[in-house]
């Protein structure tokens, strides 16, 4: 299969993630969408790595996987605390701050 196909799949996955972030209001789904975007990046990097016959892209992928795990930890901590404060994980709850 040509490398371009992998790039197109990755672009599609990334777009799904981006649309998910913009449309969905549930924070858990939002986090999942962000993960989708990061994994699309991983796919792109692995495809690029294969295309150039160069291992650097795959090394980058490992870094992204680790960072994504740390990101979820921080995000879920914020989310759990927010859930205890206001009893919902919906991002559309009216803001306390305004212009």
């Amino acid at each position: 299969m040509p490398i371009g196909a992998y790039l197109i799949v990755a672009a599609a996955v990334f777009s799904i993630g981006l649309v998910g972030v913009m449309l969905r209001r549930n924070l858990i789904v939002l986090f999942m969408s962000i993960e989708l975007m990061l994994n699309a990046v991983n796919l792109t990097l692995v495809a690029g790595s294969r295309m150039w016959g160069d291992a650097d892209g795959q090394v980058f992928t490992f870094f992204i996987i680790v960072v994504a795990a740390a990101e979820v930890v921080v995000g879920l901590a914020i989310l759990v605390n927010l859930f205890f404060r206001r009893g919902t994980v919906d991002v559309d709850v009216p803001s306390l701050m305004r212009s």
């Binding site: 939002l30 975007m37 699309a40 690029g48 991002v91 306390l96």
Partner: protein, 562 residues
């Protein structure tokens, strides 16, 4: 040569000290009141390490390490039973050591090449030592050093001074400093995420304050999405060029072998991601909410240091990796910068919350600093670095005064609360006025020097229209800052007549109002707050009156590793 052996400890000495200090402070926190369990062995080990380094020929880092090693067990003895104060002093000393080590790093290099800095790389080309990394370190460490004492009493009073605060500030500073020197995409990405994660936690530090929680959440979601978009852009650059090294990308991006479409897609995504991080209009919308909701000392740190770090990434990517594509990105960034300068200045006009006003001011300043990037010249680079440093000093002084007023009010600070501040605490109001004048860029302040240099570089590079927009935006902003100064000095103190604007709707503003007239008479300063604000104010004046040294340093530092 085996690249695995290319470990240059000298190149990351300040970061090593800060990371070590952050870990030690966390360990001290879990000993629960018996800090010597950690401090004594760590102190002895550090003294031994310092002696070993000094004997090895590096006198300055050896002495610095030995002093830190002595300080570690002494601090808990001098401050018995004050665990949080030990943490703050420990963090402050580590940051001071990091500043000294930064100067030690560049001391011999500076002046070797007819006065200008010599760029070099370490860690198999992953980390650059050049003017950008030097100035990012200076700005970030100075900001952190000012912010730690600035927020100590404030955090204590809001009961959010938990043990991890200082460690997180140190780790965020490490991330920012490494971002300043990051010379390949992996290093840049990891450094960016290190500083972001620490700041997400710091922004939502006040667990019982819904505003802080909302700020943390907003910062997290926009930050994570921006990182993902930026990362996808970086991945596409790798696909297009086959290398992760930023200078190598810059060398090959114009080659005919590079698929133009993929490279352009990468450029667009990187631009969007970076514009989010430095808060350029229209990717700025998270800034006011995050700045308003976060604890004020964290806001000061974000405004001063994060701005410098994000601009370091922008400078490195656009001046090293993308100069070959300048025909595409210069017009786009110029339009974004113009929109940012105008929007920030005009949007601030209709705000009441002081932290929000300063947030819009930070947006405006991102626009000014972008002018320096767009020049693509050495002078422009120097001017941007200088600008970020002067902005950091000014904004920290302003937020310091906000903290002082906030402690008195025990709630958010609106323009109404500043009324009569010049009568009740003239010194505080004077410093606020000075900081605002510096942010507005009036002569004899540090901000003027930064703005002058950036505008001059812009005119020299033929960006006169952009500079004119910058001047217009500065005028609008200046009129507004002067109005705040007028509110502080000309209006009467809020006595019975004051009408509270209870912006949050949970009713905590109005009932405080009666007490406030009485409280308005007592200044609520702490030793840390006053010294940090005083140092920041002194820097504004000194840099404004004697700018030669800094301008010269910035001139020497206009060097990028390519």
């Amino acid at each position: 040569m085996n690249p695995l052996l290319d470990v240059s400890f000298a190149a990351i000495a300040p970061e090593l000290v800060l990371t070590g200090a952050a870990l030690v402070l966390l360990l001290v926190a879990i000993t629960r009141g018996r800090p010597q369990l950690v401090m004594l062995p760590v102190g002895l080990a550090t003294i031994a390490l310092g002696a070993w380094v000094a004997i090895g020929g590096d006198l300055v880092p050896g002495v610095v390490l030995a002093l830190l090693g002595v300080a570690a067990p002494v601090l808990p003895i001098v401050l018995p039973g004050r665990a949080t104060l030990v943490q703050a002093w420990g963090a402050g000393l580590a940051l001071g050591a990091a500043l000294v080590l930064t100067l030690w790093q560049v001391g011999p290099v500076l002046g070797a090449d007819g006065g200008s800095l010599v760029a070099s790389a370490s860690f198999a080309g992953s980390l650059a030592s050049d003017g950008l990394s030097l100035f990012t370190r200076l700005t970030v460490y100075l900001s952190a050093l000012l912010v730690v004492p600035l927020g100590y009493a404030y955090l204590q009073e809001r009961r959010i001074n938990r043990a991890e605060v200082e460690s997180l500030i140190l780790l965020a500073a490490v991330g920012m400093a490494v971002l300043g020197g990051a010379n390949d995409l992996v290093t840049a990405f990891v450094a960016l995420e290190v500083l972001s994660f620490a700041l997400y936690v710091l922004a939502s530090l006040a667990r019982r304050d819904r505003r802080s929680q909302e700020a943390g959440l907003k910062y997290f979601v926009t930050g994570a999405v921006a990182s993902a978009v930026l990362l996808y852009g970086l991945a596409l650059l790798y696909v297009a060029t086959g290398t992760l090294s930023i200078p190598a990308i810059g060398a090959s991006i114009t080659s005919v072998l590079v698929p133009r479409g993929v490279a352009m897609a990468g450029l667009v995504l990187v631009t969007v991601g970076v514009a989010f991080k430095v808060a350029l209009v229209p990717f700025h919308f998270w800034t006011p909410d995050v700045y308003q909701g976060s604890p004020t000392n964290v806001t000061a740190f974000m405004a001063a240091a994060t701005k410098a770090a994000a601009f370091a990434l922008l400078l490195r990517l656009y001046l090293v990796a993308f100069p070959g594509l300048q025909a595409y990105w210069v017009p786009v960034l110029a339009v974004l910068a113009a929109a940012t300068m105008l929007y920030g200045a005009f949007a601030a006009l209709s705000q009441h919350d002081v932290k929000r006003i300063l947030a819009y001011s930070s947006i405006t300043h991102a626009g000014y600093a972008t002018i320096g990037v767009l020049t693509l010249t050495r002078a422009g680079l120097s001017a941007t670095l200088l600008y970020l440093l002067t902005y950091a000093v000014g904004t920290i002084a302003a937020f310091g005064v906000v903290i002082a007023v906030e402690r008195r009010r025990r709630g958010e600070v609106t323009l109404t609360n500043l009324r009569g501040l010049g009568r009740t605490s003239p010194l505080l109001a004077g410093i606020m006025a000075l900081a605002l004048l510096s942010l507005a860029g009036l002569p004899l302040t540090a901000g003027f020097i930064g703005k002058l240099e950036v505008f001059r570089a812009g005119v020299d590079a033929g960006l006169t229209w952009l500079v004119l927009i910058g001047v217009l935006s500065s005028l609008v902003a200046a009129s507004f800052y002067l109005r705040i100064a007028g509110i502080m000095f000309l209006d009467d103190a809020p006595e019975a007549v004051a009408v509270a604007v209870d912006g949050d709707g949970d009713g905590d503003g109005d009932d405080v109002e009666a007490m406030e007239a009485a409280e308005a008479r007592m200044p609520l300063l702490s030793a840390g707050l006053s010294s940090a604000v005083a140092v920041a104010a002194a820097l504004i004046v000194v840099l404004g009156l004697q700018p030669q040294l800094l301008i010269e340093l910035a001139g020497h530092a206009g060097v990028l590793l390519r």
